[in-house]
Amino acid sequence: VNLLTLALYAAAGVAYAIHFARRSPTVGRAATTLLLLGALTHTFAIGMQTMEVRHVPFANPSRAVSTFVWLLALSYLYLEIAADERAMGVFILPVMVGLQVIPAAYPGVENADPVLDSPWFWVHVSSLLFAYASFALAGVLGVTYMLQFKEIKKKHLGFFYTRLPSLSILDSMNLRAVVIGWAFLTVGVVVGLIWTAQARQVAPGDPNLQAMWVGDPKVFIALVTWAIYSFALVSRPTLGWSGRRAAWLSALGFVVVMLNFLPVSYFVETSHTF
């Protein structure tokens, strides 16, 4: 099922690329249909895993990545339908396909520590994954903003100019994605703190729980992320950082998010399993 999902996402990615280059509405509809099918099989896969382990699967990195990709697919579909704009697909799908390779190649075993079995923990993880999905959209919107900004500024109106929505639309969609992501990030971090405090009372001797503080790379980078996006939101009204600077910030923020999500999960010693 993981492979089928991956194949559907890849096919959708190709269709979005063709749609972007040739602007054929039929291909565009096909792309959306493929993505919908991919998201459906993905939902099915995640549903099966949920039944199997009796909670949404994200207690190991691969499954968390899979859940993240699933949330990204759903958020993107929402964006596409709400804004009636397919041009972003060609930028989002490569991110999804690239990430989905991980769970397809290493499915991983869901092996939840009993200490994690708390509703707080699940709220913590789902909010963060959803926040990351929003940031992914914001990052892509930021990159496309910069591409188009450059073309208009340089007076060389070419490939992107004829295909992307206007700068002001990209900017306002970016703002919306950052606001939503920031809200979920805040909820995720706060819930994480509450849960850690509670879990420490239940299992005072757990070394992992002792390590969960700002010194932990995962927690640290999450706070950096929070700082970046908070700045992005505050600087907009106070310093006039919208448009190109906001776009740049959201692209930077997403790089940091991905850094925290992948290399830190897999290669750095941390109290978090991902």
């Binding site: 602007r23 007076k155 206007s166 002001s168 907009r236």
Partner: protein
């Protein structure tokens, strides 16, 4: 039934003649009604724009239709036939279809890909439809042409990219700001060129338009034209700060908006971009202004270069558009052929069924010994035989490759089975619901 087209266009007739044959300035409805009253023009649509006057008719007798249309044009416009007949072009059936599809796609326009023509084709059809002057053939033809226009617009870049400086500026503004309503415009200078630009922006629905000029009276005059407001020349710098779009076109010998002026205007908490269009030669705005972060500066040459690029890009899209037209012409042709065989097929089926029924009834006495179930079976078996006999000829008639062949075959079938009257009656009854009484 044939499609027939007769008309003049910018390719065949000089503007003086096109003016004399123009319908758009007169009551198009009455004209199309008058035309459709002619016996050979069973269905009629008049397409009249400043570049063309074209008459589309569906007729059983194209030769007679041609006579009648020429007569109608001469009478209606009071122009002797000799004056315009040499400039007429005519097309029939497949060629007429292709012509209309190319027109709707903007391929036959003076400026290739211009978007207004599709709306004009729609209007022309609507006027004729409102007066019941169209039947199934022209209805299908025109509706297909709307589809062609839409496909060409969405699937090619034929209509894309402004081909005039004014449109190029508006298009850029759209790309930067999205919708233009609510955006405020500052117009600097009240000469001819800024007046045109201001009117252009006004028709595209920008928010407030503020005008300033060295001579206050001309600023006020322009402001009145575009329902804007005039301000004093000394407020220029502060007005830039409040504007989203600045259009400048004064006769000043040196720049009136310097780097420092604009920097002051966009510094502070301003987060919106500023789009400056410098239409003046020599330039009104210092070139270095364009390097300010949120400022997009375009001068006349920049816009002209865009227009130039767009024109050549449109040229490159023509082949793709022609390909779409070709596809749709083929599709329309096969629809016509499948429809052309329908009356004969229906008549043939009715004839066979009538024979079967009468034979079955004639045998009624002999079959009276059978049980009701057996009688039903006999009925069923004979019905199936007739069905099977007709399957192949029906398919073949509908699938014939071109119109002439089809006409020959249907004629042959009509004659072999003596169906001619019946078939033409069916043909009329298919059309009747849409045709005028």
């Amino acid at each position: 039934m044939h499609l027939f087209l007769l008309g003049v266009s910018h390719r065949t007739a000089p503007v003086e003649l096109r003016e004399r044959l123009d319908f758009s300035s007169r009551d198009l409805g009455t004209a199309v009604q008058a035309l459709a009253a002619h016996p050979a023009a069973t269905e009629a649509v008049l397409l009249s724009t400043c570049n063309r006057s074209e008459v589309y008719v569906a007729s059983d007798d194209p030769l007679q239709a041609r006579e009648e249309i020429v007569g109608f044009l001469a009478d209606y416009h009071g122009v002797p036939a000799d004056a315009f007949v040499p400039h007429l072009f005519e097309r029939s059936d497949g060629d007429a279809t292709r012509h209309l599809f190319r027109v709707a796609a903007g391929l036959d326009s003076l400026i290739v890909g211009e978007p207004q023509i599709l709306g004009q084709v729609k209007d022309a059809f609507q006027v004729a439809a409102d007066r019941q002057c169209v039947g199934p053939l022209l209805t299908r033809l025109f509706q297909s042409s709307f589809g062609v226009g839409k496909r060409v617009r969405t699937e090619t870049a034929l209509g894309e990219g402004a081909v005039s400086v004014g449109f190029a500026a508006v298009e850029l503004a759209r790309k930067i700001f999205g919708r233009l309503d609510g955006r405020s415009v500052l117009v600097v200078g009240a000469g001819e060129i800024t007046t045109l630009a201001a009117q252009h922006l006004h028709t595209h629905g920008v928010g407030e338009i503020v005008v300033t000029s060295r001579t206050g009276s001309s600023a006020e005059a322009l402001a009145a034209k575009v329902s804007g407001r005039a301000i004093g020349w000394d407020q220029l710098a502060s007005a830039v700060a409040g504007a989203d779009i600045v259009v400048s076109g004064t006769g000043a010998p040196r720049p009136i908006l310097t780097h420092a002026d604009v920097q002051a205007a966009v510094s502070g908490h301003r987060s919106r971009p500023l789009f400056i269009i410098d239409l003046a030669v020599p330039r009104d705005v210092e070139a270095s202004v364009g390097s300010l972060e949120q400022v997009f500066l375009y001068n006349v040459d920049d816009l002209q270069a865009l227009v130039h690029e767009n024109v050549s890009r449109r040229g490159a899209e023509i082949d793709r558009a022609e390909f779409i037209v070709g596809e749709e012409v083929t599709r329309f042709g096969s629809w016509r052929r499948s429809r052309g065989a329908v009356p004969t097929v229906v008549a043939l089926r009715r004839r066979f069924e009538a024979i079967r029924r009468s034979e079955f009834e004639r045998l009624g006495v002999k079959l009276s010994g059978l049980s009701p179930a057996d009688r039903e079976r006999v009925d069923e078996v004979t019905r199936l035989i007739v069905e099977k006999l007709l399957v192949e000829p029906t398919e073949q008639l509908k699938a014939l490759p071109d119109e002439e062949t089809q006409a020959a075959y249907t004629e042959a079938v009509n004659r072999l089975f003596g169906l001619r009257d019946e078939a033409s009656e069916i043909d009329r009854s298919i059309d009747r619901p849409l045709r005028r009484s």
